[in-house]
Subunit: 224 residues, 2 copies
Amino acid sequence: MKSATLLSFTEENYLKAIYSLTQKHGSPETSTSHIAEQLSTKPSTVTDMLRKLADKKLIAYEKYRKIELTKSGKQLAILVIRKHRLWEVFLHEKLQFGWDEVHEIAEQLEHIQSEELITRLERFLGFPKFDPHGDPIPSATGELQAGQRITLADVQINKSCEVVGVNDSSAVFLKYLQQVDIGIGTKIKVLEKISFDGSMAISLPRKVSISVSKKFADNLMVIL
Amino acid sequence: MKSATLLSFTEENYLKAIYSLTQKHGSPETSTSHIAEQLSTKPSTVTDMLRKLADKKLIAYEKYRKIELTKSGKQLAILVIRKHRLWEVFLHEKLQFGWDEVHEIAEQLEHIQSEELITRLERFLGFPKFDPHGDPIPSATGELQAGQRITLADVQINKSCEVVGVNDSSAVFLKYLQQVDIGIGTKIKVLEKISFDGSMAISLPRKVSISVSKKFADNLMVIL
DNA sequence: ATATATTTTTAGACGAGCCTAATAATTATG
DNA sequence: CATAATTATTAGGCTCGTCTAAAAATATAT
């Protein structure tokens, strides 16, 4: 079943905003004022739209309660993000835009309506898995390849990731992890990469940044 | 000077519609009802917009009078057409859409705002001169390469063109032209091209179609 | 646990684009 | 040239997405 009702530009942006907020803050729920801030609009405006999105069964919402995307709302949000990221790849790889210039234009391109267009664009680009900022590109079925396990060494500068496992389960490595307070679920942000030896500077929650070796980074599995 | 005031999606469509109508009907002027028909909207709606476009000095208009694009209005209309046609080339050449499928998607893409995007897209496509339907692509300065003289042999099937001159001015050729009633300004439509010998079937105004040789087609200069 | 602060919703208004129905201007015709 | 037919404009209303200001609900803090 294709999405029967086409969404407006604005509705798509609300779904995307809600999705981003739930991702950013961990919780699947978010609030009126956060959405307003995200979209540079006013809370009263958001309330109006929330009612509309709830009518269309894209969010679960009752007044004064928290906001959560429904299955179909989440699906649609992810498809918009998929389009956004594929266009970013196009702009960067094919038109040589800097990675910092692509976002603004992709904000417009993401709303072009045509399934076929995105299917063909994806093929044209060689089925990229990440956009120029290192964010993963969801599949056509709207699934974020959740199992995209990569090593810490593969995380781009300035990107955050979450620890999901190790490659090397030797006692020394695990002990070292414990010592620096890294475990499953720990959020890590990559601050710097030294190309000389592959070592990197990373920051941990409520810790000052630390430096880790290439060997360390190669053995820590993370998701973005 | 860049166009200070950005136009809305809708305003751009009105300019484009007015421009197309003036092209189609020869005259630089058009009417409320023609615009309404072109845009599948109602005359009263058009009147509202005409006032707005006149305020912005994009059209010359006084109520109950004919409508004409100003210099800047025409410029903007041509730039929208430029974007439309470049996107059509992209869709056809790079994404392998059929020439009949590209229009609808290009209708959306033509409104993406970014000078730089179009500059780079044009370069990426190798500075094409015609879109997949054979319509010419205006330059970045908004000039329709009016002097795009090509030979009849280069006209695509189903496209119409206008005779502007000859390559071979021998008496025999000119006499032959006179005989089939082709002169400067004659409108010709290409019906068929025989790849075997390069001959083509063409139709002339109020005449049945005739067949002409490759040599003939190579020596007749036309514009699209 | 009650008063205060914060967040959210309602009420009312506005511009952009669109509509229908009624009116006015222009053009065509007898 | 006066009247009929056509075309264009006004008047008033609708939806969408936005706003401000005021009221209501929830959350916080003493």
